[in-house]
Amino acid sequence: MLIPHPLLGLRDAEEFTYLGDASLLDRPDPHAPDAAQQFYEYQHLRDNPAGIHRELWFHEQGDRSWLIVTRNTLTHEILGAELARDAKGAKA
């Protein structure tokens, strides 16, 4: 698989370490009244879709940036990649 790194162009997926669903960026509020339940769900439960999946890849053998890669889990086709910090920044 080749990942279209927004800064470095097409890079082999072997340069990356995989973490999982991009929802891991949305850390719950530790001060919320139901924080324990929220953290349980955040840490352990997954949508695990068959199809389009937004997921976190770490460019460990490269520029050490975190990417959000959009990929089809049925075909392994990679549909796009963005810097996680941009996505996170846009949300904040």
Binding site: Y18, L19, N48, A50, L74
Partner: protein, 416 residues
């Protein structure tokens, strides 16, 4: 029809005209007492034990493709009970004992072969860990034996003992472990279930659950609605997809694991060898092919095929351990979808929906568990209580803080 040596001779002398299809192909009934979703190893074993051991009832197995078309036909056929943790080891040893009597019980040749499994040791720390594991196995009634370097050399003199990074210092062997013919296991359970009156319904995909006031009423399928008092889901890599239809999110990610078979070679590996440090394990099939594999690819996948990098990694592991296979050619490579759980251990439990039960999260170790998984799931479905050896496999254990994490990796499914 019972199979026996006498029967084979009789058929040979009468032109093989007496063999019949070994299960029916029934139309689905409007309703059943028990519906098992998934006609793979675990689903068929569940139906078999439910029908033969626990109760007479109307039971159906719904399979979206053909029986045994998923991971039961895609694995590397190893059976063993060499786990460490108290939540796991008694369960897998129960499974091992069921394997030992399986063929006599369901009168089908599953080619169970107790040829032993050897886990290699490369460091003092690993030896300590394996000694502890061996003791845990013995405490649970299994067998384990710690070997030194020379004892390993006597078993497999052609291993590379002096690899610079991972020299072989010994091994932990479980002699009762071994291999079984994976398709034969599915067929044996299917035949046994069919003979006990279970309807095995193929090409019947579950497309939804009918749930009223938190209670399950039945399943919508590609062949119409089927009512059910209790539904047990045993669909391995598709667990997330199927349970999403009931509105549930699971502590599971689906990943692809690749497996490999070489061309046929003369017999030279008479057991199973695992080289954990090099992400490689191997056995030799009765046809002579080396059956081997390594790690999962590591990213979410439903594709039933993996990528080249892992193929290279596995081949390198094999070459590091046994340079003798360097000229052997690969015949086949394939992938299966693993339901990787958050702690690497399975789930056999009720769900918050009354009447809906889940058997999932087997990661890449489901084959060896097939008999006990079926038995324990049937026990749960029939009695609403977990089987003694499967009490730890609760769905809510992550919420309560009781994971069963053999590798100590935490909630990272791709590292288990």
């Amino acid at each position: 029809m019972r199979y026996s040596g006498f029967r084979v001779i009789k058929e040979a002398l009468t032109g093989h005209k007496g063999w019949k299809p070994i299960w029916r192909n029934p139309e689905p009934q409007p309703a059943y007492d028990y519906v098992i979703v998934g006609g793979g190893g675990h689903g068929l074993a569940t139906a078999y034990y439910l029908a033969t051991t626990f109760r007479q009832a109307r039971i159906a197995v719904l399979e979206k493709g053909w029986l045994g078309s998923g991971n039961i036909g895609r694995n590397t056929t190893i059976i063993r009970s060499n786990y460490l943790l108290p939540g796991n080891e008694p369960f897998y040893e129960f499974s091992m004992k069921l394997w030992e009597n399986l063929e006599q019980e369901f009168n089908f040749n599953a080619m169970v072969s107790q040829r032993g499994i050897l886990n290699l040791i490369h460091t003092d720390a690993q030896r300590d860990a394996y000694r502890r594991r061996g003791n845990a196995m013995i405490l649970a009634g299994a067998d384990a034996e710690l070997l030194d370097r020379e004892q390993v050399r006597a078993m497999y003199p052609w291993l590379n003992f002096d690899n610079a990074r991972f020299p072989i210092k010994g091994g932990l062997v479980q002699r009762r472990a071994g291999t079984a013919r994976h398709d034969g296991v599915a067929w044996g359970y299917a035949r046994g279930a069919d003979l006990a009156g279970v309807d095995l319904i193929q090409n019947c995909e579950v497309t939804g659950f009918r749930i009223e006031n938190g209670t399950l009423k039945g399943v919508e399928t590609s062949r119409g609605y089927i009512g059910a008092k209790k539904v047990g889901v045993a669909v391995a890599g598709s667990s997330g997809r199927v349970m999403a239809q009931a509105g549930m999110r699971l502590p599971i990610e689906s990943h692809v694991l690749q497996a490999f078979v070489s061309e046929g070679l003369k017999p030279f590996i008479d057991g199973v060898i695992t080289f954990g440090a090099g992400h490689f394990y191997v056995s030799q099939s009765d046809k002579g092919g080396l059956v081997f594999g390594g790690d999962i690819d590591g990213y979410n996948s439903y594709a039933q095929r993996g990528n080249m990098a892992v193929i290279e990694d596995v081949a390198q592991g094999g070459m590091a351990l046994m340079p003798a296979i360097g000229r052997a050619r690969l015949l086949r490579i394939w992938g299966g979808i693993m339901d990787m759980s958050m702690d690497g251990s399975p789930i056999i439990d009720r769900t918050p929906i009354q009447g809906l039960y889940l058997n999932a999260g087997w990661c890449y170790g489901g084959f060896k568990a097939t008999p006990a998984s079926g038995y324990a799931f049937a026990h749960l479905l029939a009695t609403d209580r977990p089987h003694d050896t499967a009490r730890a496999y609760r769905l809510d254990r992550f919420e309560r803080g009781y994971p069963i994490d053999e590798k100590g990796m935490g909630a990272t499914p791709n590292l288990h």
